[in-house]
Amino acid sequence: MNVGRLIILEIMHRKLGFALAVATVATSVAALVAVAALLGAHDLRTTQMLDEMNAETDRMEEDFTREMKAYEDGVRKTMKGLGFNVFIFPEGQELDEVYADGFASKTMPETYANTLAESKIVTVNHLLPSLTRKLKWPERERIVILIGIRGEVPIAHRDPKKPLIDPVQRGRVVLGHELHRSLGLQEGNSTTFMGREFTIEKCHSERGTKDDVTIWMHLEECQELLGEKGRINAIKALECNCASIDRLGEIRREIAAILPGTKVIETESKALARAEARNKAKKLSQTAIAAKKSETANLRADRERLRLEDGQKYTALLTVVILVSMIWIAFLAFSNSRDRQSEIGILRAMGISTGSILAALMGRAFLVGLAGTGLTLVLAVLPSGVLRESLHGFELQSLVGYVPIVLFSVPALSCAASWLPALQAANRDPATILRNE
């Protein structure tokens, strides 16, 4: 006979009392596990939500960058024809004639473009000299617009920029849509223009403008055909960077200082609206991204606040549960020792020490704590698959690191709750017990 056997046999005999105590401990441990799981699930969900929002923000930033790049490319191409672009026409040119015909009748030296390029001009980024005439395509009996271009004249004091217009090579032409469509011409075909043989380099798609009846060729060849060697009738200045509202006045003043007498007109104002729209779109996108980031930060703060509140709430609840459980266990321990007072009296009479009796009572309390904890842990593991979804994928098994702590602390709390009733029972006067019995 030993104390361990005494404990086991007593538990087997008073199953209900032991089961009640174990259920109490199991309830407390279940509450503990539930709180840990809920807080863990909250953290997991917060991480998931923040990850989702960060990914969305990253995606927005990527989309924005890509769209802005595409937009800027589009605007850049648009500005080539429409942008903050100005035309410089020869001195003495009547502008009403230009507005009526679409080109200048007067010419100026091609070197004007070089003069401008070699000046310290700051409001212009690209310079494109050209020679334009409306004439009949003798071989085809068609009225066409002929434009001779030589590509960009690099501005001397700047770093070389990407050319905005690809120049047409000598011996080659580019045809507008209406021309190649109606004449049945295709890229790579040969055609004769004013007695010269040309290879068709490119056939433009429909633009719905006079470009559709235009032939582009190298400026030098155009000058030769028109007998205007070294002459041009317009310089297109592209991507003018005027910070002031009176941008045209600023450009005019600067160009007039370099090429006195020339006429400067702005081609279209639509580009400005586009640029403004682009800037606005950029600002809107940046605002949306900033709002998303702010939303993420707010979410993080909200979730952290919620966790703190939940943590406080759960801690309070858990404290109450543990306290009530300890009181209940103490009551059960008191009830158990009262039921056993005759047994304790006779054991004391037989000379069994107070320590041994205390060990028997506390050993039972320890087993109550151990069994309650074990029961909860087993029950917590079994339905974890079912709970995983409602816990946002949180795995109860991830709490396994706390098991040794719980296995130690819960039986210790059970012993603490049973200590006073056990001590009182073990020290009860056996004479009083035996006499009263």
């Binding site: 006979m1 005494l6 046999l9 005999h13 006779i346 054991l347 041994s356 004479a431």
Partner: protein
């Protein structure tokens, strides 16, 4: 002359009574018990005989007087030392048996081995159960035993550690005559083997089985008897 098993000298014990009064349960009681002696302590209910038994067992400290067990002055020892003396030299039998309800007959008999290691305790317990006709009941819980069997288990438990003194409080009080006779036979046999028995009883027939009988009245033992 061999050493006395029990010596009680001039012991008195009072309890607090109702409304601040004092009840003198034991008054200047003295008695001696030699080895092999079977003493019956009789008297009416409330005369203090059970208090004398508890005092003799080291469970109730007297207000005055001395108690010696085999020369050990009990109440000069501390609680743990008294418990050790009880475990080694004393056996108790009560009217209510006081068996541990969740232990079978064998485990109940073995209970004193919780107090001190007893060599061959299980064999000794089996012998006692055999001797008391309970060998086929050794696994039974007290609730499954008759009162006579329960008292025999209680007596076997009291004898496990081979005590020198057996203190029995109304051991036949709850038994039918046949079982009472059996218990008295075992007590007599224990005394016959050199043990000492102090039996509290108000049953005249039981008292007649003792080698000496003393009657208490109002907490005292008349001088002519002691």
């Amino acid at each position: 002359m061999s050493e006395l098993t029990l010596r009680i000298a001039n012991t008195s014990k009072s309890y607090a009574g109702p409304e601040g009064s004092t009840v003198e349960a034991v008054r200047e009681v003295s008695l001696e018990l030699a080895p092999g002696e079977f003493m019956a302590l009789g008297g009416p209910s409330g005369c203090g005989k059970s208090s004398v038994l508890l005092i003799a067992g080291g469970l109730l400290r007297p207000d005055e007087g001395e108690v010696e067990i085999l020369g050990n002055n009990l109440y000069q020892k501390n609680r743990a030392q008294r418990a050790a003396i009880r475990a080694k030299h004393l056996g108790f039998v009560f009217q209510q048996f006081h068996l541990v309800p969740y232990l079978g007959a064998l485990d109940n008999v073995l209970a004193p081995s919780l107090a001190q290691p007893l060599p061959d305790a299980t064999e000794r317990a089996m012998e006692l159960l055999e001797q008391f006709g309970l060998s086929d009941r050794r696994g039974h819980l007290p609730s499954a035993l008759s009162v006579g069997e329960q008292q025999r288990v209680a007596l076997a438990r009291a004898l496990l550690a081979k005590p020198k003194l057996l203190l029995a409080d109304e051991p036949t009080g709850n038994l039918d005559p046949e079982n009472a006779e059996g218990i008295l036979d075992h007590l007599g046999a224990f005394a016959g083997e050199g043990g000492s028995v102090l039996m509290v009883t108000h049953d005249k027939r039981a008292a007649e089985r003792a080698t000496r009988s003393i009657r208490m009245e109002k907490g005292r033992i008349p001088i002519t008897q002691s």
